[in-house]
Amino acid sequence: MTTGQIDVTHSGLSAESPAIEVLGLSFQYRTSEGRGRMWTLDHLSFHVDTGEILGIVGPNGSGKTSLLKVLSGLLPAGEGDVRLGGLSLRKRSQTDIARVVAVVPQEYAQVFPFTVAETVLMGRFPHRTTRWWSLGIGDETAKDLSCAHQAMVDTDVLSLADRLVSDLSGGERQRVMIARALAQEPKILLLDEPTAFLDINHQIEICSLIARLRTERRLTVVLVSHDLNVASQYCDRVLMLKDGGLCRIGSPEETIRPDVLRMVYGCEVVVDAHPQTGRPRVTMPMNAVVQ
């Protein structure tokens, strides 16, 4: 799969305005004065095309998660602007954003006994139609139910519909959270470390699910990952952050390279080609010596 394969043919929009435009974005956490004047995100500019999978990688504390939060409107852009489909986030309410962007958090721990179906239906919240006299009971429209149903089919959790989320395995729970996000009918899906706490079979499962959803639903996907190989194998382009600044953005071949990784992470790694895809593959050197 290549970058250009997805676009243009179906979507007239993507030719005019990309799914996400980031223009000179800077962000800073409010801290007590004096110390820590550093930008968490420092003058970032890039765009994500419709139907593209962009991977955000970088060392710990490089601002990956903060960037994802700014993209979803959870954190306000300090300077610069973020536009979704050509419209600035500043001009959208959170509900408005929620109808376009769905976020899958890194970890999801539910302490109350909610069923899978109930959880997925919560994704319909931004689309809800509440009648004041009904107290919210029976407000689910046929469309809400069919969206939730389709989301559960697509993520293969339909058979778990009446199970409690708290009783599921990590991989199943992650799929439920993706189903919940899909029930929002988003155009853009943001995932924070979707494979972080999963073993290898669930990692494969989630990654192929994301790749499949992109094709089936023409989703634009931005995912943050610690795992350089996940970014390399599953993303069309990779954005490398260092100290909040954009270090490099481009195809995996352009970004996952020994010289770039040395610059960003300050260590030597072995990069060869994946035997099946030919994409860069990162492994630790035999004698891991930090320069």
């Binding site: 959170q94 929620a98 958090p105 302490v111 899978v116 919560m122 139910l145 069919s146 009446d162």
Partner: protein, 361 residues
């Protein structure tokens, strides 16, 4: 978009999500059960009366007969003037405690939270204690004044906790709970100080009230309290969907379009209002707000559109029964109902804490 299929309606109907039908069945059933419990509780007391007396007393009340009008038997006067308002008040207090518990648990994403853990009750109790210390509200129209002091105290406690726990514009759950524990200790110290400087006979009354006890209120007071309960429960019901989404976590809730900070502030004001009213009429009755929602959740699930009214009804029944035990166990003397609820709820709390750790936060 796919049309409705059989497979789809199967998960929507099979108890996986809340349906109107299930809501009506559960709430209808609990309303009938509540009625049965109320009638049962009316029969017991220092003097037990039969079903017939209960029925005629209710009929007279509904007809609007003045208590004390000629033709009323002593047992009927007891029913109309004392037992009926007391049992109703117990039901309303229990319902409110459970509703406040459900709300705070969802807000804090912690099934162990209740107004006592957060220090809201202590704040309300301090407000009421201050009012009593200065002789405010020791008039016949006791109720309308004291709940406001309770509300002020409870809200003040919440605002202090909110400020203490807030960091970076957000409200992390753990620091909130910790702030509640500390605040509780400080507020309790203030209340103890007030009782220690009071005349002994007044402080004894205050202590008895603090332990959590119900008395027979006048009908105007009962009406005012009913108004508080209906108003707050109604608004809470309208926030039920937001409460559901809030349990996904604050950031996820926000990413779904819930104005979390605003909703939380509204809910804190509502719970403080109701807690103030509860504490002013019944002192500190513990564990109802924690035990009842927990048990109800295990039986009917977590959807707050059903959980909130169902917990309120079960809470009402629970406290009515607990108060009946408190009234009759050492008859003719009464023990504070707070002791009964603590003896029933405390071990349950410990059980949850020790053997169900996996489910806790």
């Amino acid at each position: 978009m796919q049309p409705m299929t059989d497979a789809m309606s199967s998960w929507a109907q099979a108890g996986a999500v809340l349906t109107v039908q299930r809501w009506v069945v559960v709430i209808g059933g609990l309303l009938l059960a509540s009625l049965a419990v109320l009638v049962l509780c009316l029969q017991f007391g220092a003097t037990s009366v039969g079903m017939g007396t209960v029925a005629t007393a209710i009929m007279r009340l509904l007809r609007g007969d003045e208590a004390g009008s000629p033709g009323l038997a002593t047992s009927e006067i007891i029913m109309v003037q004392i037992r009926f308002p007391r049992v109703l008040m117990g039901f309303l207090v229990g319902a409110s405690l459970a509703a406040v518990g459900v709300t705070l648990q969802a807000l804090l994403r912690n099934p162990l939270a209740d107004p006592y853990v957060l220090g809201v009750s202590s704040g309300a109790a301090l407000g009421v204690s201050v009012a009593i210390l200065f002789g405010i509200g020791s008039t016949f129209m006791l109720l309308p004044v004291l709940p406001l002091f309770g509300f002020a105290g409870g809200l003040l406690a919440l605002v202090v906790i909110y400020r203490l726990a807030q960091s970076n514009g957000r409200l992390p759950v753990h620091s909130l709970l910790l702030a509640g524990v500390i605040l509780n200790a400080i507020l309790t110290a203030f209340i103890m100080f007030i009782t220690s400087i009071m005349e002994p006979n007044r402080s004894a009354g205050l202590m008895a009230w603090l332990m959590g006890s119900l008395t027979a209120p006048g009908y105007p007071a009962l009406g005012v309290f009913l108004m508080y309960v209906v108003l707050v429960l109604g608004v809470l019901m309208h926030k039920a969907q937001s409460l559901n989404v809030l349990t996904l976590g604050e950031e996820t809730a926000r990413s779904l379009g819930v104005e979390t900070e605003g909703v939380k502030k509204q809910l804190f004001v509502l719970t403080a209002l109701l807690t103030g009213a509860i504490v002013s009429v019944s002192g500190m009755i513990g564990f109802v707000g924690m035990v009842v929602p927990h048990a109800v959740r295990l039986l009917i699930g977590s959807d707050h559109r059903l959980l909130l009214p169902a917990s309120a009804l079960v809470g009402g029944m629970f406290l009515s029964l607990a108060d009946t035990i408190a009234r009759t166990m050492m008859s003719p003397a009464e023990i504070p109902v707070g002791i009964v609820t603590a003896l029933a709820g405390g071990p349950f709390f410990l059980y949850l804490l020790l053997w169900r750790k996996d489910r806790m936060l």
